[in-house]
Symmetry: C2
Subunit: 136 residues, 2 copies
Amino acid sequence: MRIGELSERTGTPRRLLRYYEEQGLILATRAANGYRHYDEPSVDRVLQIRGLLDAGLPTRIIKQILPCLDKPRIIHFPDATPEMIGTLERERDRMTRRIECLTRNRDALSEYLDVVCPEGGPVGGTVSAPVSGPVG
Amino acid sequence: MRIGELSERTGTPRRLLRYYEEQGLILATRAANGYRHYDEPSVDRVLQIRGLLDAGLPTRIIKQILPCLDKPRIIHFPDATPEMIGTLERERDRMTRRIECLTRNRDALSEYLDVVCPEGGPVGGTVSAPVSGPVG
DNA sequence: CTTGACCTTCACATCAGTGTTAGCGTTCGA
DNA sequence: TCGAACGCTAACACTGATGTGAAGGTCAAG
């Protein structure tokens, strides 16, 4: 597919897709006319990149770990230097810490919401006055 | 404690602690001479902030959710407007998505590392040559 | 008085992302 | 065939956010 379709299917501005390519996050083959062509997995790949960026990973790291994440376990280790492995392990551990931190705080937030707004958010409904006084 | 001690105990540059205060993430009482004074929980609070920032949450959101995360379930809902609740719910869901994304990719990365480097990372040890040829 | 910790403020670095401009080629439908 | 929509490159600038550096001054203790 061309850039326009990828843009629509991923909800990502064309501009940004070119930017990701510039950053080495995605690849595109080129047609004779110079147009970028993307294969089907590119859709997931872009979404994956967006997710990781949103989770705080810098492009530099994403670029490094992306090749290790392909579904078919294609052998990537020929070019895996010890330093590279070390980097990946550190990033894996950092991701784990992130997950723990997020989970902890998400659960706390969730618990809070359960208290202030038990079951089925009435938020967005017709609320004329804040429940600030003594209720009931 | 003063800023220097908090800095040491959290591994956070003084400059950054002042920045967090400027952004409304932490509070400090002031001594007569203008020095900032922090209480004991500030240590955890700073670490929590660092963790959330690292996980991709912007300061603006952290500032909003932090008060809901205090261990003693102090009643915060007097000032909880419906919009605020909505924001918190959206952020909770976003955190969940982040967790899922991170977990998925962390597991894939982990699996990859298990393949290229099964059990007990020898990385960092004395590795004279990369294991690029057929092993065993 | 010197040293070190603290204060404020301005400026800067980095990074992701965006808008815009200018110039040009391609695709596709009316 | 014409024009709109789409694509390309390259560049420039700029936002918004996190994070730093350094200047210049204050405070407290040896």
